[in-house]
Amino acid sequence: MRLQLSPELEAFREEMRTFFTTQVPQEIRDQVASHRELTKEQYVEAMRVLNAAGLAVPHWPVEWGGKDWTPLQHHIWREEMQLAGVPEPLPFNASMIGPVIATFGTQEQKERFLPKTANLDIWWCQGFSEPDAGSDLASLRTTAVRDGDDWVVNGQKTWTTLGQHADWIFCLVRTDPTAEKKQRGISMLVFPMDSPGVTLRPIELLDGTYEVNEVFFEDVRVPAENLIGTENDGWTIAKFLLGNERVGIARIGSTKKMLAQAKEHAREMRSNGRPLIEDPRTAARIAELENELVALELTALRVVANSADGKPHPASSVLKLRGSELQQAATELLVDLAGPLSLASFAGDGSEVPAWARAATPHYLNYRKVSIYGGSNEVQRTIIAGSILGL
């Protein structure tokens, strides 16, 4: 056991911190810090700055831009990025389809897609969930039928995040409806969002934002070479991808940043004539959240320090479960600090209510999603109960 980072890792952390806080435009980082929506251009710009420095996809194989870092280095990279308010490399590209193509793709697919995926020249979206296939993903119904050199795709996806910006979609489709187990007979296809027969319908979320979509497919023709991996063996790929999706979803750095902001705001807000930070209940609440976050960060470090052999640590479901709960608790804290001012949610810039207080409740409502997507917290508990505790 050892508490401190080695001098090399200390230097690594400093290097990351310096890069993120000096090379990624301040305006973009401010946007992230104040929980305002980023434009597509801002996402792209940030990811290209990272990619140019080799920091967009460090977890990929070295020949495709990866870094061969230790898990601890990856952890530091991610935390420093979040603390600096740098938008994370688009997860659909960096954590989902990239590693999938690098692992299951043909050489031709790797050459065709990976460089553009790392540089966000292609914006990917994830077409997995369907109206009747959420937690029960394997019951998906979108079909792909072989017709000459093409697959013909029909069906519907939903919850497609940022599909409105996407150039390409990676999709789970049913290629063998007769397979006995519903996990069999599923394949992964990739195709452009502007293929004839693809229609997108935006879904408005509770906070008034448009980040998810329904996507409809009507006789969409997809060339056979766009199949990733083996026909009818898409579930293996899906499981690999979902495992990666969970990594980093704890977003400890972001929560840390939110708590730091909360303290700043609690210094500005006054209650009964004194700064709110001096209110014992408020201070205790922040302290408890910080302590939970310390416990989570230490657990994350234990997990990464231990998974050097590449196998996920059994406790990694704890990270998604607790990480999402703490993100939500931090957004709730901000609403409560704003108190009556939180009601001025959509006031314009002429408002006397500070911007953070106006944004607090929409952000809180929006963040109800983090315990639902990426494998809901109920699904995480099922994993802990079943795979870890053998119940």
């Binding site: 937690s135 509770l206 209940r281 959509f346 006031a347 109800r368 109920e378």
Partner: protein, 380 residues
Amino acid sequence: MNFDYDSEQNDLREAVRGLLARAYADSEQRRSVVATDPGFDEKTWSRLAEMGLLGLPFAEDHGGMGAGPVEVAIVAEEIGRVLAPEPFIETVVLAGGLVAAVGTDEQKAEILGGISEGTTIAVFAHAEPGTRWSPAAEAVTATQDGDGWTLTGVKEPVPSGARADVLVVSAVVDGGTGLLVVRGDAQGLTRTSYRTHDGTRAAQVRFEGTPAVALGSGDQTAAIERAQAEARIAYSHEAIGAMDTALRTTAEYLRTRKQFGVTLNKFQALTFRAADMYVSLELARSTALWASMVQDAGGDVVSAADRARLQTSRAGRHIGKEAIQLHGGIGVTAEYSVGHYTSRLTAIDHLLGDGDWAADRLAADVASYPTVDPLGAPYA
């Protein structure tokens, strides 16, 4: 001791429920109403007036019905049940309550009469940026000017502040916090309206030497504290109505949504959580009903309101969050109703003091009595 409504109260409840069920038959109807200013339906407001609901607690001499807090609670709960966005509590309980408490006979006849008829929307302009749920004003000041007064400063956020015909304004005066009445068309009054996250409207209200008329005289902190306590109780009932619908909608969803080949109610992990939501709801309901009875009996309404607020605040958070979570993705969409219930419950929580705030006030008192007795002094 009896928590049941009598037959007249049951009739009232059925009548209000029927009216609101027509106005807000489904969540789409509410969505289209809150999409345009003033954020509620003027026609529904008139119907509430025709039914006598807007004058419910006011004396008959002033155009009201002379009913009590239990009747007000019944209306508030029905409003919460369908998330009706009409500013009933703001106008009738809070602003109307202040006028009823400290106004002259003439003011009562005019303002309460107008409210009862549905021609006057009055709101209490009290919150100031930088203060939290205090009964005192800090930044808006009132200066005597001959017979009348003038106001200077900013109130924000003021619920329904831009639509209001009459503003009851709290302001710093010599010796404390005074109350004043301002007409919507007064000189030196600027109002900027915006949407709040729950679909209603609030405004920044700016006074620049705005002429005003005194409502009562001297320090009115106690009257404000009392009116706010009564509004807190009413909001607790609105929250109960909202929680009830959120829970029923969730239970219905668990009975119908299929995953893994079965409906979700086959998963005990989910049904137990719905059961816990019910526990929260019923405890909050009891406390809110009790608080209305304390108010009716002339007991310590401020402390009773704090208890009701603490209980409903915790229950509202619990039920609101669980309602979304148990729905999965559909729960966070604007098209589906359950998230709007959560949004409204969050707004109610921050209107006049949240759970922590109420707990702090109750905590300041725990050392002063040996056991808590909801049926004894100071409540009965």
